[in-house]
């Protein structure tokens, strides 16, 4: 055997052993601390959900599961770091689907959908359009009629120029040819205050934000981007959806887990199994109860389909309805 041949053989043996090693490690994954990266600051919606979820996941395994906030560049910094991380299943990105996809549609990012493997989604919430009671809109139809009666007068607040809120608002305006003015607030908290201060005719925000005010009958729910069947407040579960109103899309945010694209399939499968158990645990159900919305599990393929579908929808909305 030549020297080169020996080397090649050694490399082959090494590769086989390594391969076996990764299978073995997949079975008892995790054997070290799992780091869940949330690409947003502490205290926001995604962070709150992530911390509750991480606690349930940690209860299922012998290792620590920590949440790390890597904020910046509207979620891009943390996402990019995970895409570049070691693909061993110990660095996991936790993000909301539309928070992850809309920057891809509106900006040049150094990463894309194909840089990740999808572990699964565990919290599916639609966006909803809500209005202060004093504005007097009891239903979406009333809002539409009022908007048509006074063109370019009614205001529709959203929590940012792009993202799920803006997508839904532009879809409503574009598909129905509705002459409303879309007002861009800086994030959900500012929009939340604007709706309560009765500053806008209606606002599009993630459900179940403002649920307490809905319960106290201060705020009316007009229409939802998707099904509200998981919400804890029974009277609004049957709220009409966009799809039921001649707008053939659904908009919301699915919080889910992603890992770097090169992560071994066995590790992804194991993590996915653990994540499903965490989602369906009693503890996480109790969190959902407190949060106002019941968690739902989406498997890897379903979650990936949601992400890819959103990109298609957003791209379409952008070319048709955004100037």
């Amino acid at each position: 055997m030549t020297r080169f041949g020996k080397l090649a053989a050694a490399a082959l043996v090494g590769a086989v052993t390594l391969g076996q090693g990764s299978v073995a490690s997949a079975q008892d994954y995790p054997t070290e601390t799992v780091r869940i990266v949330v690409p947003w600051g502490a205290g926001g919606g995604t962070d709150t959900i992530a911390r509750a979820f991480a606690a349930e996941l940690e209860a299922l395994v012998d290792e620590a599961v920590i949440v790390q906030n890597i904020a910046g560049a509207a979620g891009a910094t943390g996402s990019f770091q995970v895409s570049q991380a070691k693909a061993d299943g110990y660095t996991v990105l936790l993000n909301g689907s539309s928070d992850f996809t809309s920057p891809m549609v509106f900006q040049d990012l150094p990463f894309g959908v194909d840089d990740f493997k999808y572990v699964g989604g565990f919290f599916v919430t639609p966006t909803w359009m809500v209005s202060h009671k004093d504005r007097g809109y009891e239903s979406f139809d009333q809002f539409v009629e009022a908007a048509k009666a006074q063109p370019d007068t009614l205001t529709l607040g959203v929590g940012g120029a792009t993202g799920a809120h803006a997508m839904m608002a532009h879809a409503v305006r574009g598909y129905l040819d509705l002459p409303v003015r879309i007002i861009n607030y800086q994030g959900g908290a500012a929009l939340n205050k604007a709706i309560l201060a009765n500053e806008v005719d209606a606002g599009v925000i993630h459900a179940p934000v403002l649920l307490n005010e809905v319960r106290e009958d201060m705020v009316n729910v007009l229409i939802a981007g998707g099904s509200l069947s998981g919400i804890t407040h029974e009277p609004v579960r049957g709220t009409p959806t966009l799809e039921g109103t001649d707008i053939p899309i659904s908009i919301g945010v699915t919080r889910g887990l992603m890992v770097p694209a090169d992560t071994p399939d066995e590790v992804v499968a194991r993590l996915s199994e653990l994540a499903m158990q965490a989602t369906e645990s009693a503890g996480f159900a109790a969190f959902g109860d407190k949060f106002g919305f019941a968690p739902t599990w989406l498997g890897p393929e379903q979650f990936e389909a949601v992400v890819r579908g959103e990109i298609e929808t957003f791209q379409d909305l952008k070319t048709r309805f955004f100037q």
Binding site: G41, A42, G43, G44, D47, Q68, N69, I70, A71, G72, A73, A74, A76, T77, F80, Q81, F106, Q107, D108, L109, P110, D152, T153, T155, G160, A161, T162, R181, I183, N184, Y185, Q186, A189, A190, N192, K193, L196, A197, E199, V200
Partner: protein, 509 residues
């Protein structure tokens, strides 16, 4: 009923660990204040990474302690060294140092302690009374109101800071320029990011603050390395004046408290401008104005009451609007964000317990400051005499950690370093860095709210005159600008008149 939230706040702040943090923070603040060159925002920046793992309330309480403590600490070096420990104490040196020179150092320190405490409590009462009222109004304020308050704050900070208004305005404009970097709030277009992903959400203001307040100070103080302070007297013991003696000067205290609270409550101005204003007014109102500058107790009481009263004043815009009154509160706002709390008009509604806990802590810190200043002064005077060069490496390390902790990436550390150098360049040319900071912080607040107001009114500019308060704010801004421009023109005319006279003189030669 009204006092219930405040009592709850005290119940939280008085928990043993929280109380410990308040007292420890206050002691630390007094030391930092006593050391010339080290400032309260800098000390709070150093604390940022240390408090990151703590609950939000204890983290804020230790910062509040530092904030309050530095105000009195600054007077120690002003009185004993004639080098004010903090810019806000510069005024105290005018009368405090002459008193120390004629052997009344203890009495001067006593007046400073008493003035600071009474002023602080005055400001605290004002904060506790006005925060809930303004908070309730703020929740109903529209974007147009917030934009106008921001603009008024910027105009005031540029006219009140030491030096010329032109330099102040240049600093503010530079800050505004920095704040335009990042995604356009309306259209989502990236501005001045040059394709750098990290700049998409703008230049992180907490990191810029770390640079401007932390690194700049270290860089500009490098020349002082190895120097030790020499005191006017080595027998330092606080001689608290009899309450009756101090109350003779009630007018100076009241003027100080009033100026401190109101100027503190105006976004951006802070203690520095306020103590000079109070000093000048107290002198005008005094029966013995000629004694000022030669060691008059009133000359110590007025500025010291002022700079502590500002701690209450600055709480009002910070807690109700999310607008900082000075550098220290700007850093505290950054700390709030780090702890996942959103400062702004919704703060009172969503985190009322923290607001009241902090306000209770402010009162307790003032009391702690009095006791420490009375009984433990020797410790602070000892610290004052030490060479502080060994502190600088720690400041640098903690400042960088604090910047890193804002996003858990290295990018903000670079930002802090760049701003440290920028700050040094500005400071050495006499542009106060606080104007840049206010530009950076108020810039986005003004931009976002102004564009929102216009979007809501369908681009109708009259929305800025639509209500009484808005008209008042616009009038205030116009008046301030008018006064400043008139003064500048008068000064120029004087110059012009002077030049021909010189020219004729020369011609005659």
């Amino acid at each position: 009923m009204m006092f219930e939230p405040l009592l709850d706040g005290f119940a939280q702040a008085l928990q043993p660990m929280n109380l410990f943090f308040i007292v420890a923070g206050t002691a630390l603040g007094m030391m930092v204040g006593a050391l010339p060159g080290l400032s309260s925002p800098m000390a709070i920046i150093v604390l940022l990474p240390l408090t990151y793992g703590m609950e939000p309330l204890p983290a804020l309480l230790i910062m509040i302690g530092v904030y309050v403590g530095t105000k009195l600490g600054g007077s120690y070096s002003a009185i004993l060294l004639r080098t004010p420990g903090t810019p806000a104490a510069a005024c105290t040196a005018l009368d405090g140092f002459p008193m120390a020179q004629r052997g009344e150092a203890g009495l001067a320190l006593g007046y400073a302690t008493l003035g600071s405490t009474i002023g602080g409590l005055f400001g605290w009462v004002m904060a506790v009374s006005f925060v809930p009222v303004i908070g309730a109004i703020a929740l109903r304020s529209g974007p147009a109101d917030i934009a106008l308050i921001g603009i008024a704050g910027l105009i005031m900070v540029s006219s009140f800071v030491r030096g010329s208004i032109v330099k102040g305005l240049i600093g503010v404009a530079f800050g505004l320029l920095i704040s335009t970097v990042g995604m356009d709030p309306e259209s989502g277009v990236s501005r001045y990011t040059f394709g750098v992903l990290d700049l998409n959400s703008g230049i992180p203001f907490a990191a810029a603050l770390v640079g401007l307040f932390g690194l700049t100070v270290v860089l500009s103080d490098l020349t002082l390395l190895g120097s030790k302070a020499h005191l006017t007297t080595d027998r330092v013991k606080v001689a608290l004046p009899k309450l009756g003696d101090a109350l003779k000067y009630w007018r100076a205290i009241l003027i100080g408290g009033g100026y401190g609270t109101t100027v503190g409550a105006i976004p951006g101005v802070g203690a520095e401008g306020a103590s000079w204003l109070a000093y000048a007014t107290a002198r005008r109102q005094s029966k013995t104005p000629d004694a000022f500058g030669t060691g008059a107790p009133e000359g110590v009481l007025a500025p010291e009451a002022t700079n502590n009263a500002t701690t209450g004043g600055t709480m009002i815009p910070m807690m109700t609007l999310g607008i900082p009154g000075d550098g220290s509160t700007a850093v505290m706002l950054g700390a709030l964000l780090l702890h996942g709390l959103t400062p702004g008009v919704t703060m009172m509604r969503d985190h009322g317990d923290i607001v009241w806990g902090v306000l209770a802590g402010l009162g307790l810190a003032t009391v702690a400051m009095f006791i420490l200043g009375w009984k433990a002064i020797r410790l602070f005077v000892f610290v004052l005499q030490q060479d502080r060069s060994w502190l600088f490496p720690f400041v640098l390390v903690f400042a960088c950690l604090g910047a890193y902790a804002t996003t858990n990436t290295f990018f903000p550390v670079w930002v802090a370093i760049v701003f440290g150098l920028v700050g040094l360049a500005f400071e050495s040319r006499g542009f106060p860095v606080v104007t840049i900071v206010l530009g950076i912080i108020l810039g986005p607040i003004i931009e976002v709210n102004m564009r929102l107001a216009l979007a809501l009114s369908n681009d109708d500019w009259t929305t800025f005159f639509a209500t009484g308060p808005r008209i008042a704010l616009v009038a205030l801004v116009a008046l301030l600008l008018f006064v400043e421009i008139r003064q500048a023109m008068l000064a120029r005319r004087k110059d012009r008149d002077a030049i021909p006279a010189e020219a004729t003189n020369q011609g005659g030669m």
